[in-house]
Symmetry: C2
């Protein structure tokens, strides 16, 4: 079954960047020959979707096409050229992440990678479409900053699939959506 997955790095106190958007604390996680499962993760997806502000931020760092091996979709409320060309490469644009994801999941393919930001993640989570989260925590306390999620949301339970503890103190947790089993009541069971 095709899933929606996210791969996110944050500080030990849960921030993805300083209040100014600085992510240089991630440099502390650099470890020779270690990519924290990123290559393996990217092999599971064929499509990356991202919000326009996050796309622009990443592009401003020099990565206007960070995932050339994937279909890239950018969500924006403002009209965009559809598709626009980035050095000859098609970048698809769309306006409604939830409707787009629901439609996309009906097609065969590898998983979809939701690469943020918080607003897109919120919409996907709120719609119950966030299936897998890989959260990589760097052993640094930032004190404040931009949180992983920052919108009122329904509380979402997850199952921890895996924890990996790296020699430099990085901890990676992989969560999967917890499917609630509806009581059928067929056997007369219920509250005791």
């Amino acid at each position: 079954m095709r899933l929606v997955a996210s791969y996110i790095a944050c500080s030990a106190d849960g921030y993805i960047a300083t209040p100014e958007g600085d992510i240089s604390f991630l440099d502390r996680a650099v470890l020779e020959g270690e990519d924290y499962g990123y290559t393996a993760f990217m092999a599971t997806v064929d499509t990356v979707f991202v919000g326009r502000k996050t796309y622009d931020k990443v592009a401003s760092l020099g990565f206007s096409d960070p995932h050339p091996e994937c279909t890239q979709v950018v969500f924006s409320r403002q009209p965009q050229p559809d598709p626009w060309l980035n050095n000859g490469r098609r970048i698809w644009t769309a306006t409604h992440p939830v409707a787009w994801v629901r439609a996309e999941l009906l097609h065969p393919g590898k998983d979809l990678y939701c690469d943020g930001g918080a607003e897109i993640l919120h919409q996907i989570l709120q719609a119950g479409l966030a299936d897998r989260w890989i959260i990589t925590t760097v052993p640094v306390l930032l004190g404040n900053g931009i949180p992983l999620l920052d919108h009122p949301n329904r509380l979402s339970d997850f199952t921890l699939k895996n924890t990996t503890h790296y020699p430099n103190g990085v901890v990676q947790r992989t969560y999967a959506k917890k499917f609630e089993v509806e009581p059928t009541g067929a056997d007369g069971g219920g509250d005791v």
Copy 2:
């Protein structure tokens, strides 16, 4: 050596409570016979200090003396009876957490437990006095809420001492302050 330690529970996205201060998501971590190392942690401390707002919040939940086996200190900018009596028990009050901690560390004793809130944690962290953090993460995404820390701070590096993965998906990380070793240059070593 006497240390300052914190023991904190949060959601997978790093919040200690909902925006309204609701911590009922912690109920999802209840596991028969499992206290997540809390008893062992409490055996390492003999003094608990906390901000007035956090103290009042905990008291409002019915716990006006949550650590009867410890000296309890409440920090407040407003003058308080010093000490005040809580059902005959002395609760000490003070105004300057950093100065108080520095003085306290000169006395023999077990470790000091900084039980929050974010403002006290910020001051202790900023002063370089936060030695040990035990962060217990419940496999729930809240979406937003009250963060573990929310003040501009100097970036603080920590060493991961331990990770424990519980059967219900709770992950506990223990961090210790990273002491930077100043290069002496005595052997002519340095950048290559």
